[in-house]
Symmetry: none
Subunit: 195 residues, 4 copies
């Protein structure tokens, strides 16, 4: 969509896909560059024609993940009906983090961001924007009386994301009861916001 996207070499995307596959299967640190090039079907050296190094691939992935959050940020910006907006967001975001690649990559990026500033910067930026947007939605709902007043809206927003993401992660172990669990979490959150 962006002008930058058009100039990306298709091989670069293949590498990213291969890396995602490996990271999901083995984890970032357990994945070697040889695993990635093997999965991508390219030679070892060629990887370095498209990425500066292994970390650059994760940064690239973190950027993509961060960009995907933008859609949710946009979704939350419609504050005419905070209750409906939030309900929709929770449903959509729960579905998003229920996808294994989002759930697992998310935790992989999150843990890496704890100690890797490059990752923290690129991914944390958009995550903070998402938290702010969500907090703003809550605040609007409080003002219009559909939500109870919250001590610290951003913290609650953060908590909502944690709860949804945690649910997505746990659903990996027991994917069968997925829908039920998602409903339980959603209901709890929405109920918790009621005045």
């Amino acid at each position: 969509m962006s002008s930058e996207t058009q100039s990306i070499h298709p091989r670069k995307l293949e590498i990213v896909e291969a890396a995602v596959t490996c990271f999901l299967e083995k984890g970032y640190h357990q994945t070697g560059v040889r695993d990635i090039v093997g999965q991508a079907g390219i030679s070892l050296g060629n990887l370095y024609n498209h990425f500066k190094g292994k970390e650059a691939i994760l940064v690239f992935i973190a950027e993509i993940e961060g960009q995907e959050l933008s859609d949710f940020i946009g979704q939350l910006s419609d504050n005419d009906d905070p209750c409906a907006t939030l309900g929709l967001f929770i449903t959509d975001y729960a579905a998003y983090v229920a996808l294994p690649e989002n759930a697992l990559l998310g935790v992989e990026i999150l843990t890496e961001a704890l100690r890797n500033p490059a990752i923290a910067e690129v991914f944390g930026r958009n995550r903070n924007r998402l938290i702010i947007a969500l907090a703003e939605c809550i605040t609007q709902g409080t003002k219009s009386g559909v939500f109870a007043p919250q001590i610290d809206p951003p913290v609650v927003a953060c908590m909502i994301l944690d709860a949804l993401e945690g649910q997505g992660l746990h659903s990996l172990s027991s994917p069968s009861e997925d829908n039920l669990a998602r409903n339980a979490v959603s209901s709890f959150i929405l109920n918790g916001l009621k005045p």
Copy 2:
């Protein structure tokens, strides 16, 4: 407390402490055994007199973390006053996961458990017991009318833990507003459970 604990060589605990220090600082996979023995001030070979290998140290730590959950499980078993019991648990558990070593080690163990059965087994066992105990507390509260009925109490229990642990993790970045944030989360959860 157990008979096993009393026979533990003091050197073994020194190693564990050193390992914890390293894991907190660099992460499990980024920590080498040389880092650990360096931190512990012992020789490389001697580590293997006390642990079968690097993973065994993490298993040992996961066991300790798992045992610490037992205290909370016991705390939750008093179901005379589910509301008070839950309130106390949330306060205590929030304080527990606010300690950096618990927050960081927790996520380290959790992510490792995703792919490492040995870790999943030893840590997940007690975590599941904690979830069950928490769900039971919620169920009791529902029965006695102090909590609203929940679609899936274990999922809600899991969510509560996720929310508290997530808050502990985020407090590492901004430790100043710790108490306020903890209150916000606690209030939200307790409010969400209200009928």
Copy 3:
């Protein structure tokens, strides 16, 4: 000067210049072809349109350096006044090897020639001619009585070159005292040849 020179593609000379810059800065073996094409501002593949490979560039440079020795060989061929001829040669050659690119490239080529026959051949040929010309000048001087008899004129000739080139190399570290040092060396050599 040669017909061959006129047909050289300007790009080829740009590559050589870039390579010289890199070799001076990092040394031959420490310089990668990517360094060279980066310095030259051309693409990686294009280098191979002008040179067979990295070594061919050094051979080309060695040839140029060898050709520059021809001027000195010609200068030494005038044996009417060996004393004046030698004095002039020493002054000129000292100035020549005092240029960093000549001093550094010289030692780079010399050390490479130790193990690389291609380099040894192309550079050593003219250097040997220079030594012979210098030895002949000394011999003439001995015959005409202006120089003392030498046990082995070629060895002395070689030694004179070593002394001058060594001085050029050392002057890289302390360029300030350049002229004084060159005079000291020149005087010593000329004095050593006196009968």
Copy 4:
């Protein structure tokens, strides 16, 4: 001889010997650590139990070479008879640099020192002391009238070393005429110093 020497693990010396063999044969930058461990008959990893890395081996060798210069410095310190002292030094030093390992290692270290401060520091230190000692010997000879006054004794000293070392290097190509050539150089130098 020094207390430090006694604590050196014999394997470390084996590695150094193997490295010297490789450096002589292929040059420092052309030698891989696998070449060294192959020559030494040890495993790859074990090299790093004794040396921090490849460069540390060269630094160690440069230190040894530097220490060997100490003997010559001591020899030059006897200034009762500068002429005899210098004659002896030239003979001994010429023999020293006529050994291939000294000649080749010397140029290897010298060229590396041009761009590697660690090497320059450890080797250049003692070489400077040697130059100073040699210059002092020349100065004493000048005072006592056995040598002609020199414009810049240290430069002349440096030149003498260059000439001897250069001769050692050239003798690698034509070792047969070794003695004759050494005499030629020695005679020239001594003659050049005469008043």
